[in-house]
Amino acid sequence: MKGVVFNLLEAFVCEGWGDEVYEALLERTELETQEPFVGPGTYPDSDLVALASNAALMLDLPLGAVLRAFGEYCFPQLAAKVPMLVDSHSDLISFLQSIDSVLHVEVRKLMPQAVTPTFLVDRTGPDTARLAYHSERRLCGFMEGLLVGAGRHFGTDVEFTKHSCMHQGAASCEYDLVVHVQHALPTSIAGTAAQG
C-alpha cells in the first residue's frame, strides 16, 4: 500500500479524534514498518489493516464502518491529486468505468511498484451499474467508502447492494449500484466518520 494512504489515515484520525488518539494507536499497534510513513513509499498492506483494526477497537466501532468512513474521507484528497482524471467525467458511472483503464494505468506509470485492484464496471442503465472489485488486500469496506466519496464529488448519492464478498470466500466483491442525484448538502467528513 502506498504511503499516501497511511498519511491520510493519520490525518483522518487526527482530524476526527485528535493527535493523542493517533499516537496511542501507533503505540499499541505492532507494525512491520519501523520508520515513519512517507507518501511515495510502499508499505505492507498488513500495517494498514493492523492500524485500522486497532482504531476500530480503540473507538469501539466495527472495522467495516471505520474503513468505509476512511474511504469516504480519502476520496476528495486523492481526487485532488489527479483532477484531470476525475473532472473529465460528467457522471459517477462514467468515472468508475475509467478507473481500471485510465486511473490505475496512470498510477502504475508514476509508481511502478504500486499494486492496483481490479475494478470492473458495467453500466446497466443511465443511473445503474454492476461493479466487481477484486484485490488481494480485500479492502472492500475502504472501497465502499471511496465509492460514497466519489458519488459525493459528482453531486450524487450511491446506493449499493452487495451480492458477494471476498471475505465470504467469493472471488470478488460484487455490487449493484444505483446513483441518485443528491439534494442535501454533503455532510462534513469528520461528522461522517464519527457517525460511521
Binding site: 493527535d19 493523542e20 499516537e23 520508520e35 515513519p36 512517507v38 511515495p40 513509499g41
Partner: protein
C-alpha cells in the same frame, strides 16, 4: 501528555524529511540515468530515421506533413522545414485521396504514385500504414522507394533489346550483301581485264590502220565514230572507273567482313588476333569518329590471345565510341580535330591495348563510379551507362585481365586493357 505527543510528532516529521530527502536523491539519480538512456535511444532512433535509404513521410489526419527524413528531402529537393506543415496533397493529390478514403486502419504496399519534386514528377512505389500510436495523434506513415533508376533501367533494357535486334538484322544483311558483292567484284575485275585487252586490240587496229591503204569513206566513218564515242576519253577514264569501282567493292567487303566478325557471338574462347580485332573495330566505328578525330594506330608484335572475340570486340568498340564522344564534346564549336590513338604491345605474360583520346577527360568526382552499371554522364537516350560496366566485367571477370584508366580533365583519357596471354582457366586446369 501533549508535549510528549508533540515531541513524538516532531521527531517523526524530522525522520520523514530525512527519508524524503533520501528518496528525492534516489529519484533524481534514477531520473538522470533514465534521461541519459532516453537521450541515447532518441539519438539512435533519430539517426536511424535520418539514414534510412527509403523516403519517409509522416502525415497527420488533417493532411499536413508532420515529419520527413533526409531521404525525402533529397528525393523532393525541398528543405525539411518547407515540407513540414505543408499539405501532402501538394506532393501527391492521388496519395491524399487514398489516405482520405482508406479509413483509420489502412495498410498497403506496392502503391504506385508520382510525387511532385523540384525537378518535376518522380515515380515512386509506396508502402503506407495508418496507425494510432499510444502517444500523440493518429498518423499515416508513408515509405517511398524512388523508381527513377528502375524506370531508366527498363527504358535502357528496351533500348538494348532494340539495339540487339538491329545488330542481328545488320549481321543478316551483311551476310546477304556479301554474296552479290563477291560477284560484283569478280565481274568488275573481269570487265577491267577485258577492257584492258580490248584497248590493246584497238591500239593494234589503229596502228595497222595507219599503215594500210583504205578508201576515204570507211576511214572517215572510223574517224567520225572515234570522235563520237570519244575514244581518247574512254581510254583514259574507263580504267579509272574500274579501279574506283573495285576500290568501292573492296571497302564494302571490308565493312561486311568486319560486321560479320563483330557480330559473331563466340561462345568459346579462341586464340584471337587482337590487332585485327582493333582494326575491325575501327572499321565498324569509322562513322562515329571520322568527322571529329584522326586515328593513329601503333600495333606491336603481339601473340594471339585466348578470348571471347565477340565480347572483346564489344569492349574495344565501347572504348572507341567513348573516346570519339569525349573528343566531340571537347571540340564543340572548335575547328580542330582530335586524336584517337590505339596501341598494342606485349608486357610479359600480358598483352596490353591502350585507347587514348584528346577529349574532355574525366572529372575526379566520378572516377569511383565509372565502372558502375547504369552510371552515365550522357543525356537520357544517349548512353546506356552500361558500356564501361560491361567492359569491366568482360575484361576482369571473363578474361582475368584488368581495365584501368589515366585521365587529365580537359586534355584526354587513356584506357588500358590488359589481357593474359595464357588463359587463366586453362593454366588452372
Amino acid at each position: 501528555m501533549t508535549t510528549v505527543v508533540g515531541s513524538r510528532r516532531l521527531e517523526r516529521a524530522e525522520k520523514r524529511v530525512a527519508i524524503l530527502e533520501r528518496m528525492i536523491e534516489d529519484r533524481t539519480r534514477d531520473l538522470f540515468l533514465s534521461n541519459e538512456r532516453l537521450q541515447r535511444a532518441n539519438a539512435y532512433l533519430t539517426e536511424l530515421y535520418s539514414i534510412l535509404p527509403e523516403s519517409l513521410l509522416v502525415v497527420r489526419f488533417d493532411g499536413s506533413i508532420r515529419d520527413v527524413n533526409d531521404a525525402t528531402v533529397e528525393l523532393l529537393g525541398v528543405p525539411a522545414d518547407e515540407l513540414v506543415g505543408r499539405p501532402v496533397e501538394s506532393i501527391s493529390a492521388r496519395l491524399w485521396e487514398w489516405l482520405v478514403s482508406s479509413g483509420d486502419d489502412a495498410r498497403v504496399d506496392e502503391f504506385e504514385d508520382e510525387w511532385q519534386g523540384v525537378g518535376g514528377p518522380i515515380p515512386v512505389v509506396l508502402s503506407i500504414a495508418t496507425a494510432s500510436p499510444k502517444v500523440g495523434q493518429p498518423i499515416h506513415v508513408v515509405a517511398a522507394a524512388d523508381q527513377r533508376e528502375r524506370r531508366q533501367l527498363e527504358l535502357e533494357l528496351r533500348h538494348a533489346q532494340k539495339l540487339e535486334s538491329v545488330g542481328q538484322l545488320a549481321a543478316g544483311i551483311a551476310h546477304e550483301i556479301n554474296t552479290p558483292m563477291q560477284f560484283i567484284g569478280d565481274n568488275a575485275r573481269f570487265l577491267q581485264g577485258s577492257f584492258t585487252d580490248l584497248l590493246s586490240l584497238v591500239d593494234l587496229y589503229r596502228d595497222t590502220l595507219a599503215t594500210v591503204e583504205l578508201a576515204s569513206g570507211p576511214r572517215t566513218r572510223i574517224a567520225e565514230l572515234e570522235d563520237e564515242v570519244d575514244l581518247e576519253f574512254l581510254q583514259q577514264r574507263v580504267p579509272q572507273a574500274f579501279a574506283r569501282t573495285l576500290e568501292g567493292v573492296d571497302r564494302v567487303s571490308t565493312i561486311v567482313s568486319a560486321m560479320k566478325a563483330f557480330a559473331h557471338p563466340g561462345h568459346d574462347k579462341v586464340a584471337t588476333d587482337i590487332n585485327l580485332a582493333l582494326q575491325t573495330t575501327l572499321t565498324v566505328a569509322r562513322n562515329e569518329y571520322k568527322y571529329v578525330a584522326d586515328v593513329v594506330t601503333d600495333f606491336g608484335d603481339i601473340p594471339l590471345v585466348p578470348c571471347y572475340a565477340g565480347d572483346m570486340n564489344q569492349v574495344f568498340l565501347n572504348l572507341v565510341l567513348n573516346a570519339a564522344q569525349a573528343i566531340e564534346e571537347r571540340n564543340v564549336g572548335r575547328e580542330e580535330r582530335g586524336a584517337l590513338t590505339l596501341r598494342s604491345w606485349r608486357d610479359g605474360e600480358f598483352v596490353v591495348v591502350s585507347v587514348s583520346d584528346t577529349g574532355t577527360g574525366i572529372p575526379e568526382a566520378i572516377h569511383h563510379r565509372l565502372f558502375e552499371p547504369f552510371f552515365t554522364t550522357k543525356p537520357v537516350g544517349k548512353g546506356t551507362g552500361q558500356g564501361l560496366a560491361i567492359s569491366y566485367a568482360v575484361v576482369v571477370e571473363k578474361h582475368g585481365g584488368s581495365l584501368r584508366f589515366e585521365t587529365t580533365p580537359g586534355e584526354g583519357t587513356t584506357f588500358f586493357v590488359r589481357l593474359p596471354i595464357q588463359d587463366p582457366g586453362t593454366s588452372l586446369s
